[in-house]
Assembly symmetry: C2
Homo-oligomer: 318 residues x 2
Amino acid sequence: MIDVPTLVEQARLGRPRAVARLISLVENASPQLREAMAALAPHTGRAYTVGLTGSPGVGKSTSTSALVSAYRKRGKRVGVLAVDPSSPFSGGALLGDRVRMQEHATDPEVYIRSMATRGHLGGLSWAAPQALRVLDAAGCEVILVETVGVGQSEVEVAAQADTTVVLLAPGMGDGIQAAKAGILEIGDVFVVNKADRDGADATVRELGHMLGLGESRSPGDWRPPIVKTVAARAEGVDELVEALEKHHAWMEEHGELAARRRRRAAEEVEAIAMAALRSRMGDLHGDRRLDSLAERVASGALDPYAAADELVQGVTGA
Amino acid sequence: MIDVPTLVEQARLGRPRAVARLISLVENASPQLREAMAALAPHTGRAYTVGLTGSPGVGKSTSTSALVSAYRKRGKRVGVLAVDPSSPFSGGALLGDRVRMQEHATDPEVYIRSMATRGHLGGLSWAAPQALRVLDAAGCEVILVETVGVGQSEVEVAAQADTTVVLLAPGMGDGIQAAKAGILEIGDVFVVNKADRDGADATVRELGHMLGLGESRSPGDWRPPIVKTVAARAEGVDELVEALEKHHAWMEEHGELAARRRRRAAEEVEAIAMAALRSRMGDLHGDRRLDSLAERVASGALDPYAAADELVQGVTGA
């Protein structure tokens, strides 16, 4: 058994090993997670979180690393959470294999953790917010959430942050892909990375068109800016930080930051409650009971609603 | 109010309007769905369902139409369910706009229905099986489930069928895309359509390699066949029907058909039960209660597990 109070105390003092072990509790959906979250809760709610999403090849990892440098220059303690929803294997400790991140690996004010969430009990709706809570309690002022791997869940992970950055690169037909994937709607700030390449300005124009930036909006509405960067050479990264700070300030001014955090917390609480009810359904009936109901439904002897009633009755006693 | 018993009676007699109206009940998640499913249940469990999936452009719709013709030649009553998980708008009645299907539109032994499921309360896990139950009770011996639009949910829809057909076309780099999307694992039968194009044999080879068809398997294991078709000219379609019949027979022989149907029914029942519990959570607490819990979690005053406990207690009384 892990001594959770001591672990939380050490994480709050900024001990990297303690932070890493707490995130492992999240990753493994440990039974001690509950105790850890209760101990961490009073020390959370301070970090500003930024999600980065975009197709493979746009330079997410390079951009994340450049942002870490930029925030470190501003004296901020930074956390990086790299979530891989497609992998059941944990990166474990530091992302030592990721060249771009190595320059930060020895900086005591930077926490870099990867987390594998495939097969995670509660899915992404739990894993990311709980890991963020650990980094938040550890005193990170800015946390960058980057998704590794591909898939729809990228969008979900990015949506766990206060501000969502959508990255594109010139000449990848990315705009249309992004539109299809529903990514345009979730972007608060857009980045056209590799802006030294041919077609960068065309990508910016195309994107601006798709975002309807030319259209009139209500005063006070947030207009997603498009920032051009060459993250590998740190070009445009200060402008990106500035755009993030503007969005942060706008959200605070309009009550949007609190609203987003409430919404995410509500989703998290509901997901945990539903999982608890699901497991209670399993406790009461065992899989054999569901199997026998399913068999009757498959054969037409019972309709699915009547079968569901039997399951629900077992949980609620009514 | 719709007179459900009369509607079900008429659907069983094969009246297209009654079939259409019952599927509309599913699509709209009507409160009368429960009554309809109870009335339909005793008349289900006979149809053999085939799901068709693949990237846009491989010829799903043309292949579906060619399969309808092939099954009609064999004297079977055929149902087609075209599911569009990305659209909130219903196609309504017949898919008259889809040229390939028009030749079947006047055949009284063919039921063609489109169904929009975006925003459907229970999601795909309910909508598809319930619509299939309607067509099953209407006496369709074979039901083809085709997904319209793109996205991960294609895989889910196809998995609602007894046999899943994965379609590819030459020269689309489809094999790799399919492997990425996790589509290879769900295919019982593979089709390389547009087989008169350059690169068809290469696609078949590449696919065979990825499927590991050369490797030895246990005797009795199903080896997914790869069928070459030119669906627009009905070439290879008889071979495809033969492959489907072989898979059907293999599943019956090995108890796999019953096992798949039980598994799908179990998922459906569980989804309905979970939705009932979720709505009960809402009934007891109202959104304001969840909002207030979320606010306390977001501010760090409460941890998410303790908040979830409060929700669960309201439902179960313990």
